[in-house]
Subunit: 581 residues, 2 copies
Amino acid sequence: MYRSHNCGQLNASHINTEVTLAGWVQKSRDKGFMNWVDLRDRYGITQLVFDEGRTDTTVFEQAKTLGREFVIQVQGTVIEREAKNKNIPTGEIEILVTQLTILNTALTPPFTIEDETDGGEDIRMKYRYLDIRRNPVKNSLLFRHKVAMEVRKYLSDLDFCEVETPYLIKSTPEGARDFVVPSRMNPGQFYALPQSPQTFKQLLMVGGMDKYFQIVKCFRDEDLRADRQPEFTQIDCEMAFVDQEDILTVFEGLTRHLLKEIKGVEVAKFPRMTYEHAMKTYGNDKPDIRFGMEFAELNTLAQHKEFSVFNNAELVVALAVPNGGNYTRKEIDALIEWVKRPQVGANGMVYVKCNPDGSFKSSVDKFYDSEDLANWAQATGAKPGDMIFVLSGPANKTRAQLSALRMELATQLGLRNPAEFAPLWVVDFPLLEFDSETSRYHAMHHPFTSPKPEDMPLLETDPAKVRANAYDMVLNGNEIGGGSIRIHDKATQQLMFKYLGFTEEEAKAQFGFLMDAFQYGAPPHGGLAFGLDRLVAILGGQETIRDFIAFPKNNSGRDVMIDAPSAIDSAQLKELHIQLN
Amino acid sequence: MYRSHNCGQLNASHINTEVTLAGWVQKSRDKGFMNWVDLRDRYGITQLVFDEGRTDTTVFEQAKTLGREFVIQVQGTVIEREAKNKNIPTGEIEILVTQLTILNTALTPPFTIEDETDGGEDIRMKYRYLDIRRNPVKNSLLFRHKVAMEVRKYLSDLDFCEVETPYLIKSTPEGARDFVVPSRMNPGQFYALPQSPQTFKQLLMVGGMDKYFQIVKCFRDEDLRADRQPEFTQIDCEMAFVDQEDILTVFEGLTRHLLKEIKGVEVAKFPRMTYEHAMKTYGNDKPDIRFGMEFAELNTLAQHKEFSVFNNAELVVALAVPNGGNYTRKEIDALIEWVKRPQVGANGMVYVKCNPDGSFKSSVDKFYDSEDLANWAQATGAKPGDMIFVLSGPANKTRAQLSALRMELATQLGLRNPAEFAPLWVVDFPLLEFDSETSRYHAMHHPFTSPKPEDMPLLETDPAKVRANAYDMVLNGNEIGGGSIRIHDKATQQLMFKYLGFTEEEAKAQFGFLMDAFQYGAPPHGGLAFGLDRLVAILGGQETIRDFIAFPKNNSGRDVMIDAPSAIDSAQLKELHIQLN
C-alpha cells in the first residue's frame, strides 16, 4: 500500500496520526536546518517538514536532493503547523517526515506546473501529461466527468437507455466529409466513422427502444478552425411518440438540472424565440440574451431622405448602447474601424450620440434633423446618455455585422458574465437553405428533419419559406444543442430526398435501409444532440473547449504528443489494397 | 402529447381512468362482435377492446383493418378484464377504446416479433430494428445499460474519473492489426483506431489523474470468428500509487457489487490461482470452477509399464467424471470420437470405469492391474461409480485437449449453470511467450507489463520463466478482465523493448512519447480492462455476445443492415491521395 491518505485529506483532526503519503514534489523551501516540501497529488497539497533537529539525518539529507516533480513516498506524523494557511484544506497541519522513498525522479519540466504557467499552447500540447498536472486542466477533466455523470443519471432516471451504436458504418455523401477506414476483409470497400449516430438512433426508435441516449464520439473530416476538433463528443438523444413540446420539456429539464446541480444556479422556464425573430432582433440564430442591445430596423424612419447610403440599402438597422453617450471621438472611430475590418466587413457606421439634455449629435446631422433622430432613439430604445450605432447594406450581411458589433460591445462593456446563464430555445428553423454554389437546396438541419405540416404545400412553390420542426438550445450565445422532429414515413422521406436533389437511385443506395425501416411500423419520433465539449466549457465558464479535452488535436488535426497521424508500412498498405500517390 | 401512460403501467388501480396509449399492434383476436388487440411498447403489453355494442361504429370498423406492427394511438377507459392474466402486470385490466388513430402502417414483418421467433440470424441482422422489438434483444440492451450505469456509479463513488481518450491515434505494429484512417490534411499519413487506450491511460497516470476509467470502444482488424466483433467495448481502468493487491481489491469489489446489485448474488472473496496451477489443474488459464473434475498427472503412476503410448508421452493426465461409471460403451465411444475430432486433436483416450463394488474396468486392463488403477483413482479423486478419462501426449496440447473434454462433459452433465457465478483471479502470468514462427519472445499481456522484480535476473538466463505482475479476472470459464502493474521507468521499459526484439530506433519511434513521459515523474501504476460485451453476456446468463450489441457485424465484418463497408467515390479517394489496386 503506497499511502494511507491522499494529499487533500489531512486536517487538524488527524494531528498525531502516523500517515503514509505519496505524490509529486510541487516545491521545496530549504532554510538550511529546516526544509519544507509541498507534496501534491490530484486531491491537494500537503506540506512536509524535514527538521534537522527532529528528522533522521539520512532522511534529512535525502530530502535536499528532491527536485521539482520527483515522485516520492513519505511516512511521518501529522503535526500542527506554525504558520497556518487558511486557503487550503490541509493548511492547519504538516507532516513531520520520518521516512522518505524516491519512487521516481523527474527531469526539469519544460514549463511550470502552476495554475498560471509559463508554457505556450504548443509546448503544453506536446507535454500534455504535464499540462494535466496543472489545476486548470485537471479540474476541467474532473468537471467534464461530473457533467457527463449527471447527464447519465438524469436521463437514466427518466427511463432513457444508453445504447452503443457502431463506429464502423457506411459512408454517406451528405453533410460534412467522412473519415473513412479501408476494410481489409472487403477489398476496395471502406467504412466511415460516424458524423453522428443519427440514422442508428432513428432505427432504435423504429425498434421500440422509446427513449435513447448516448454520450458518443463523432467525427468530421473538415478543415480545422481554432477550437474545432476532428473528433468531438455528443450527448445524443432520441424519443418516440413525442412532439416538439415533449422534447423541449425533457431537455430543458436536463439543462436546468445541470445548472442547478453543478453550478447552483436556478433558471426560469427557457424563453422561446423563432429563428426569424432571432435573426431580426440579434442578427444571429444563437443570440446571447444576457444583455439587451436589440436591433431596430430603421428603413421606414431613415430612408427617403437625402442620405443615399441608407436609401440604397436593403436594410438599415441600429442598436443602442446603454450609457454609450460618453464614447470619445477616438473610441467611436476605433469602433468604426472595428466593423470595417475584413472579418466583419462593413463599409462604415453611422453613430448618434443621445446627449443627457435630450439633444442629439450624429455623424449624419447633415441629413437628419433632431425629430428624425428622436424617432431612431425611440425605435432602438435609446435613452439620454446612450449611443446609437447604425449599419446598412444587404439584409443578411448587415445583420451579421451588427451582431458582431453587439457581441464586441458586450465584451468591452463586461456584459458577458460567465457566471450568469441565459438559456433559450430558438425554434421554427427554415427546413432548407439555398446553396448558391451548387444552385440547390440543402437541408439546414439534416434530411431527416420533418417540415411543419402546415408548410408542406410551400415545398413546391417557395421552398425557402418552409419551416421545420427543428430547434436549437442556446446558452450565452452558443448553440449547445439542436434537434428536430423526424420524418417517420417513407413517402415524405422520399419526397425530401427529391427536393434535396437526390435521384431515386441515390436516395435508395444511401438511405434505403432507413426508408425500408419506415415501412415496418415507425413511430413518430424526434430528438436532440448536445455538443458535450462546448456545453462543458460554457458550464465551466470558459470560452475554449481544448482544456476540457484530455488529448486534443492541433489545428492541423495532429496530436503532437504521440505524433499522429503517421506513415504506415508498405506491407500494411498492400494488405489494404491501397497505393498512395 | 401522444400518450398519458405507457403500455406496462396500467393496473386495477386505474380502473375508470381515461387514458391515451400509443404503441405497436402485437396481435388481434377478432371475434366478430368483439375485437381484442394487444398493444405493445418497450414497457409492456396492454389489452385493448373494441366492442360492437359499446364502441363507436367507425372506430370498431377501423380496428378490423389493423395489421401486425401497425403503430396506433388510442383513447379509452380503463376497465376490469373478465379473463384476467396473472402473468403480466397489466393483466387485470383492458382499455375500452373510444378513439383510434393509425400513426403508421406496417408491412408484414419478415419474422415473428415474439420471444421465440421463426427468423434465422441472417434475416434478424438484416432487419435488426425489428429484432430489437423482441423481448430477448430489447431486454439485453436494457440490461447492458444497467450494467454500464452501475459500473460508472460504483467507480465514480470511489473517485475514479472517466476521461475520454482519442480515437484517432497512432498506428503501432505491436499487438493485433490496426484499423487505419487516411488523413486528408496530412497526405500519405494515417491515424489508427485504438486497440485499447493503454498508452493514454498510462499518460493520464503520469499526469496525476490518479484513478481513471472509461467505457470505450476499441478496434481490432483481426480475422473474425463467431462471437468476436471488430469493434468491442472495454471498461478500461487505471490507478496510480498501487500494487497488485490494491487493484485486485478494487475490481473484485466492482464485480461483487455488480453481482449483488444486478443478479442479487452474494459471492465470497475471490479465490486466487497462479497461472501455473490453473494450467496444470484445468489445462486452461480461465478455468470454470463451478464444478470439479480437476486434472491429475499420472506420469509417475502410469509410465514404465508396458503401455508404450503412455511411456512415450511427455504428459499423462486424467480426470474423474462423478457418477460417470454408468456411461455405456456407446457413450464412451462417442466421447473418444469427440476428443479425436480435429478441433480437439487427441489421438485416442483411455478410460477406467470405477465399479460400485470397488473393482475397475478399463481400456488398458492388459497393461495395468487393479492396484495401478486404484492409484489412478486415488490421484484423480475418483470414487466407486465414477469414470476416469486419461489423455497423453505433448504437455501443452494434451492439457488443452483434456480441458476441452472437461468443458464438454460439464455441459453434457448440466454443470455449467448460468445462474451460478464462480469468479476467481488467475495471477502470476508469464511475462513472455515464445513465438516459434518468428523465433522471438512476445509480451504475453503487452510490452508495458512489469516483470516481478524477483524474476528480473531470469530475463537474461531463462526468459520464459519470468513471471509478470499480471492478472486475469475469470468468471464461469471466461476471462472477463485482465491487467497488470505497469513499468513506470524509462530504463526498464527500454530493456523490455530490447528483449522483445525492438531496435532502439524502433522503440523510440513507436513509444518514445511514453518513455519520455516516464522521465518527468511517472508514479507507480497499474490497471485492468474488462470486456464489457462478454461481462454483460455472462451476467445476463448467455453464451453469445451478439444479442447484447445493438448493431453487431457478421463474421465478415459487415453490417448487413446498412450494407457497410461499401465503395467510396473516386473524388474522395483522390482527396485522400489513395489509389486502389
